[in-house]
């Protein structure tokens, strides 16, 4: 009797595989946050005055703000004075100009993660801007991109070489006072990626970044800014994984996307940060603000994400549909296992005429995982002819996990059409037994059922990323590739 749920439990209780830590000496600030911390970060990065002022303004706003409490996630209060706000790998000081100059320890780490940088970059034709801790260490294919006038570099470099673009767009999508974590990020952000695609240019390759959190107790505050000018197109890939560790790590990134007239941005994420052990100890706290602004008419922004990691995820990639006929899309797979908690979803803010948005959210909960989908569709008064379609499905593995859906719909224009569909299903011992009776291993059975469930989202991912995403789900659920 007691073993009726054993198979399912065995599968979903396997532990995270990317648990290792590289020993790269970190050059870090002492713990704590004050105006001085902000000044030191800005000075270390040799930033122009306007940016320091911007950071300080954000810091002052942040002091007056409190963390949001409406999300259905639970964690002990975070001591913001017990966090290290800046660290850089030491080898970075000399500024490696090519992969050969990169600390071999770092490269080994990437290899352990299954990202052989050389092969990957060359074979897949992907430009890789790998972020290790808080500073970019390797950027490739820059020359090829430069020929087309494309700027793809670390945020710090952009600040040095293209301050006017940074100044024009930074904070224009996510203002510093947007929310508690965004304000914090704005004050102390360390590095991230910067992309600018000039008018009429179609970026010839997928731009890709691998994130990895490494130094102990280092809050990670990436800042990413992507601008597609008129008639431009870019597909951007973000992927990450983290080593096993003891203490919770705060991660509060901000990503801003700007699509001008007729431009298109496709932003894909595969996220696999350390979720904590079976009891939920030691996982990453992921409080992210991601927002795209369809600023021009006929522009389009798509978010596709596969989220399997983190102890706590708080994340709502959103699109502001400002330009007439602009299109926003959100395709998401989120998985919570063990004690993971996720409160995720999207916001589609329709402001322009005939704007359209599509939301497909697939939530998978296993173990004691706890998941909420929170989606807002707002149709402004001026947005006549706006349309939204939302589909929100939950899959439960076992009987100790939970999923909730909170759709918020605000329609101020009578000509708008908003459709919402939701479903919940459970993988039970019955289904597993059935698949195994037909000859499939339990792991393959779970992975087949889960992949079937996620199909609609995976098909939105670039090919090689889709394969990776399937693997991740496999790893996260079973401890082996499914």
């Amino acid at each position: 009797m007691s073993n009726t749920t054993s198979t399912l439990e065995e599968i979903i209780s396997q532990e995270y595989q990317h648990g290792f830590e590289t020993s790269v000496e970190a050059d870090a600030l002492p713990r704590g946050l004050s105006e001085d911390t902000v000044r030191v970060i800005s000075a270390k990065k040799n930033e122009p005055e306007f940016l320091l002022e911007w950071r300080l303004a954000a810091y002052r706003r942040w002091l007056e703000m409190t963390p949001p409490e409406w999300a259905s996630v639970h964690y002990p209060p975070i001591d913001y004075q017990d966090i290290i706000y800046y660290s850089a790998p030491k080898s970075q000081k000399d500024g490696p100009k090519s992969l050969d100059e990169v600390d071999p320890e770092l490269l080994k780490t990437y290899e352990k993660l299954g990202i052989p940088l050389h092969e990957r970059a060359i074979l897949a034709g992907v430009a890789v801007d790998a972020v290790f801790d808080s500073v970019s260490v390797a950027t490739t294919f820059k020359d090829k991109l430069a020929e087309k006038g494309i700027i793809f570099c670390s945020f710090s470099e952009a600040v040095q070489h293209h301050p006017e673009l940074v100044r024009q767009y930074l904070g224009s999508v996510v203002p510093v006072q947007d929310n508690f974590y965004a304000a914090l990020n704005s004050a102390v952000f360390s590095d991230g990626s910067f992309v600018y695609i000039p008018p009429g240019v179609r970026c010839p390759m997928e731009l890709s970044t691998y994130f990895r959190i490494n130094a102990k107790n280092t809050g990670q505050f990436e800042r990413t800014l992507i601008i597609a000018d008129r008639d431009a197109y870019v597909s951007y890939l973000e992927g990450c994984t983290a080593p096993m560790r003891d203490e919770n790590q705060l991660h509060a990134a901000v990503v801003e996307l700007v699509a001008l007239e007729n431009a298109q941005i496709k932003y894909s994420t595969v996220q696999n940060w350390y979720p904590g052990d079976n009891e939920g100890r030691g996982g990453i706290y992921n409080f992210v603000t991601k927002r795209g602004d369809c600023r021009g008419a006929h522009s389009k922004i798509s978010w596709t994400q596969v989220e399997t990691g983190s102890a706590i995820t708080w994340k709502y990639p959103s699109v502001i549909l400002r330009g007439d006929h602009s299109v926003g899309e959100f395709y998401s797979v989120a998985l919570t296992n063990h004690r993971q908690q996720a409160d995720t979803g999207t916001k589609m803010i329709h402001m322009g005429k005939n704007t359209r948005s599509t939301v497909v959210s697939k939530g998978i909960s296993a173990g004691h995982g706890h998941q909420a989908y929170r989606g807002l569709v707002r149709i402004a008064r001026a947005a006549s002819g706006a349309r939204n379609y939302t589909q929100c499905d939950s899959l439960l593995l076992g009987d100790k996990c939970a999923a909730h859906t909170f759709p918020y719909i605000e329609v101020k224009n009578a000509s708008a059409k908003v459709e919402h569909e939701a479903s919940t299903s459970r993988i039970g011992e019955d289904q597993l037994f059935f698949c195994r009776q037909r000859g499939l291993s339990a792991e393959d059975a779970v992975s087949m059922i889960v992949n079937g469930f996620c199909k609609e989202v995976f098909k939105e991912l670039p090919m090689e990323f889709a394969v990776e995403a399937q693997k991740l789900l496999g790893v996260s659920l079973e401890g082996s590739v499914g």
């Binding site: 009797m1 009726t4 289904q431 059935f434 698949c435 499939l440 469930f453």
Partner: protein
Amino acid sequence: MLIIKDLHASVGDKPILNGINLEIKAGEIHAIMGPNGSGKSTLSNVLAGRENATVTSGSVLYQGKDLLALAVEERARQGVFLAFQYPVEIPGVGNVYLLKAALNAQRKHRGLPELDALDFLALVKDKMKLMEMNESMLYRSVNEGFSGGEKKRNEILQMAVLEPKLAILDETDSGLDIDALKIVANGVNSLRAEDRAMILVTHYQRLLDYIKPDFVHVLVGGKIVRSGVPELAHELEKQGYAWVCDEGMGVAEVQPKS
């Protein structure tokens, strides 16, 4: 092919199977009949390896090996097939996908190359004709929204594709209309082979008119109380189970529920 000796099994603390003895040779078809709740499905599940019933004593030899020591998928790969009394739905997973994954998992186990999409489709479409199933069924999610009869046909389609050595059909005839019954029986008959044995669990003589068994067993209270030639089934149909029970075998353990 299959030798069951003094098999006892319980669900929780409740004994369900109370000493089953049964020997099945290759090429034979055995029908098992018996009142509701007598343990027919439990026996089928124990043979397939479902973990909700615990074997408390006894043994099962399959092709000379200890069947009970094998994991569920291991048994399947060695040719044990169970057509479920209540087929399971798997939303999101295409029927064709499951079939292909299952067949290739089994082929791999047997050291055969995996079938590619084209060869596989040719094979499946062939079998679907036999079961008179519409091809569109292939592309729907496994059993999702299938009618009761369609689910049962789908089970036999899987059997036809997987070509097991020992097939256990648990009430595959229940819920089938007359035409469907003939089609399913036809499918099953076409799979009769020298090297293949079958166990048919059924309540009705009807099925046995189409699929002629070699032996009929009556399971009551977790025990086989009667075994005999096919005519036994006719007798049962006329007299009901009280008849076998009254003959003084395991009456005390009979707890028919309806």
